[in-house]
């Protein structure tokens, strides 16, 4: 119980316990190449590499999914075309391009945001 925890950020969150002899696949996570195994869900591919799936849009930090059965919707990610994918119920396909932040077009620029970006004071 007193051993140190694995250092956050080093390696993945999920631990493979069996079924590791499956054919290897490659996908791209936020542009970076990453390996996966045939039959992996996107969630497993993301969490055997890293420790997050996405970042909460409500400011409470990183998220890594919750229910794994398509009920909580906590594991939304996006493909290169901006299509939303539920990572827990999407199977990895070789060459897949996955983004863990929503496409900019999902959050259209408002005058307030534009002003803030220009460093101007809000009225």
């Amino acid at each position: 119980m007193n051993e140190p925890l694995p250092k956050p950020g080093s390696g993945g969150r999920f631990v493979r316990l069996a079924e590791t002899a499956r054919p290897a696949l490659q996908l791209f996570i936020d542009g970076q190449p990453a390996g996966a195994l045939e039959g992996d869900t996107l969630l497993v591919a993301l969490l055997t590499h890293g420790r997050r799936v996405r970042t909460s849009e409500f400011g409470d930090g990183n998220r890594a999914g919750f229910c794994l059965m398509g009920a909580c919707q906590d594991c939304w990610v996006w493909d290169g075309a901006g299509q939303r994918l539920r990572a827990c119920s999407t199977v990895v396909v070789d060459g897949m391009d996955v983004r863990t932040t929503p496409p900019a077009s999902h959050w259209p620029m408002t005058p307030e945001v534009a002003m803030r970006q220009r460093g101007e004071a809000l009225p």
Binding site: M1, L5, P6, P8, G9, R13, F14, V15, R16, L17, A18, E19, T20, A21, R22, P23, E38, G39, D40, T41, V44, L47, T48, R51, R52, V53, S56, F58, G59, D60, G61, N62, R63, A64, G65, F66, C67, L68, M69, G70, A71, C72, Q73, D74, W76, Q83, R84, C88, S89, V91
Partner: protein, 466 residues
């Protein structure tokens, strides 16, 4: 004319419902969110995985294999629509969307048998929003369907049979389990035991799991009070802190937590159908009213499996078959009526036994409602939108909400992505305590269409009418 029957779900209840219909000569449409049949409990692993049924399903392997085999044998006679969400129900029509293609359909029916299953029932614990905190069901799916553990050092906390089952499965698969923390007392009261003894073999199996965990060196604590899940927004979970039965604070370092307090029914479609619901005092939850054959209060709508009563897989198999036969009996379908007459008493007796056991479980592993009422103001109740218990209480104390849907409108608790699946029961307890009302008087979150988020790009052009 052959009646049009639609079954929602292909877990134990849905498969047995479909099988009964086919035996009677009726070919149903089976709408299933899963990629393959089996539901959550008997979920099939993907192609290319090698583990045996015994490894995957343990003592239930034979039942799982029988269910899979029987559904395979039905495939020519059912219109099986996998990866398809039944997202709305309007005047006798079920609306579905296929996940990958976005193809929508509108299905008319003479009878609808809803076998929608259950999810984990969750109690917020301060810090449960951190990455690495999962539902117990999630922990089990990671292992069963993907051969993964949710972390390298896992704590399981909550109550109910799944708590011990998942922990034991993790230990057996070689994962490191730091602790199993149960909010229920170690020894159930006499009333609970009376119910549990309705299924003595299952009771013994449960006790054996607990003993196996202790033998494996896992700390198993009962009557705990969860205090918080420690961690940071960036790195996620780092420890679970609780008060033990003697009042001492204990900390278990970990990088993952599996959390759950037994199950809650997926009853949204019953709600959209307009079915009556009744408050069940023992489990403190609202359940659709059904008769002893699975008939809801709405003619033509039948409810079976954990989506109606949490009886577990064996009960779901019996309930699915009975509900389907009751539907055919009501439709005056000759072969269905013959089967119904021959079988309903036996199936009802089976279900009565299962229900007695269920009552025992509810008492042995009670929903710790006082924890919800006592959540600190800064604890997040709604994980979807990071809404705190304090904000929810303000909707009661400052804005006068005395009812859960009103509190939802003010606070947004229950309005996020999960649509209240994981916060709804605790939110009701928080609102009731703040309003000094019994929890049944604050009502329940109404089911809303779509029952899960649906992409607006769902192709209307590809719509088909049934």
């Amino acid at each position: 004319m052959t009646p049009r029957v639609v079954v929602v779900g292909a877990g134990p209840a849905g498969v047995r419902a479909a099988q009964a219909l086919v035996e009677a000569g009726v070919q149903p449409i089976v709408v299933d969110e899963g990629r393959r049949d089996g539901g959550q409990i008997y979920r099939r692993q993907p192609d290319g995985f090698q583990r045996s049924a015994a490894t995957l399903y343990g003592s239930e392997a034979a039942k799982a294999q029988a269910l899979h085999r029987d559904f395979d044998a039905l495939r020519e006679q059912v219109d099986y629509r996998s990866e398809t969400l039944a997202w709305n129900l309007t005047a006798g029509r079920l609306h579905t969307v296929h996940a990958a293609s976005g193809t929508t359909a509108e299905l008319g029916f003479d009878a609808l048998v809803v076998c929608a299953g259950a999810t984990d029932r969750l109690m917020p614990v301060p810090g449960w929003q951190h990455a690495g905190c999962y539902s117990l069901g999630a922990a089990q799916i990671a292992l069963k369907a993907q051969a993964c553990a949710i972390g390298s050092r896992v704590v399981f906390m909550g109550s109910g049979p799944l708590l011990y089952l998942v922990a034991a499965q993790y230990v057996k698969a070689g994962a490191r389990v730091e602790a199993v923390l149960d909010t229920a007392p170690a020894v159930p009261g006499w009333a609970a035991l009376r119910g549990l003894l309705r299924r003595p073999r299952l009771l013994l199996r449960g006790l054996a799991l607990r003993a196996a965990l202790r033998r494996a060196g896992v700390s198993v604590l009962n009557a705990v009070t969860p205090l918080r899940i420690e961690g940071t927004p960036n790195d996620g979970v780092s420890a679970v802190v609780l008060r033990d039965a003697r009042g001492a604070e204990r900390t278990f370092a970990c990088d993952a937590v599996g959390l759950g307090w037994h199950l809650r029914a997926e009853s949204q479609l019953a709600d959209l159908a307009g079915c009556d619901f009744a408050f069940e005092a023992a489990s403190r939850q609202w359940l659709p009213r059904i008769d002893d054959c699975g008939r809801s209060s709405v003619p033509g709508v039948y409810l079976a499996g954990d989506g109606a009563r949490i009886l577990g897989a064996d009960g779901a198999e019996a309930a699915g078959r009975l509900a389907a036969l009751a539907a055919l009996d009501d439709l005056k379908h000759a072969r269905g009526q013959t089967l119904f007459t021959a079988e309903h008493s036996r199936l009802q007796r089976t279900l009565a036994t299962m229900d007695g056991f269920r009552a025992g479980l509810v008492q042995a592993f009670p929903w710790p409602h006082a924890h919800a009422a006592a959540l600190p103001n800064d604890a997040i109740v709604c994980r979807c939108e990071a809404v705190t218990a304090g904000e929810l209480r303000r909707s009661v104390l400052d804005l006068g909400s005395q009812e859960l849907n009103r509190a939802k409108a003010f606070s947004r608790v229950g309005m996020g992505r999960c649509q209240g699946r994981y916060c709804g029961h605790a939110a009701a307890e928080v609102v009731a305590a703040a309003a000094s009302l019994p929890v049944e008087q604050v009502g329940r979150l109404r089911g809303q269409a779509p029952v899960k988020p649906v992409l607006m790009s769902a192709q209307e052009g590809a719509q088909e009418h049934g």
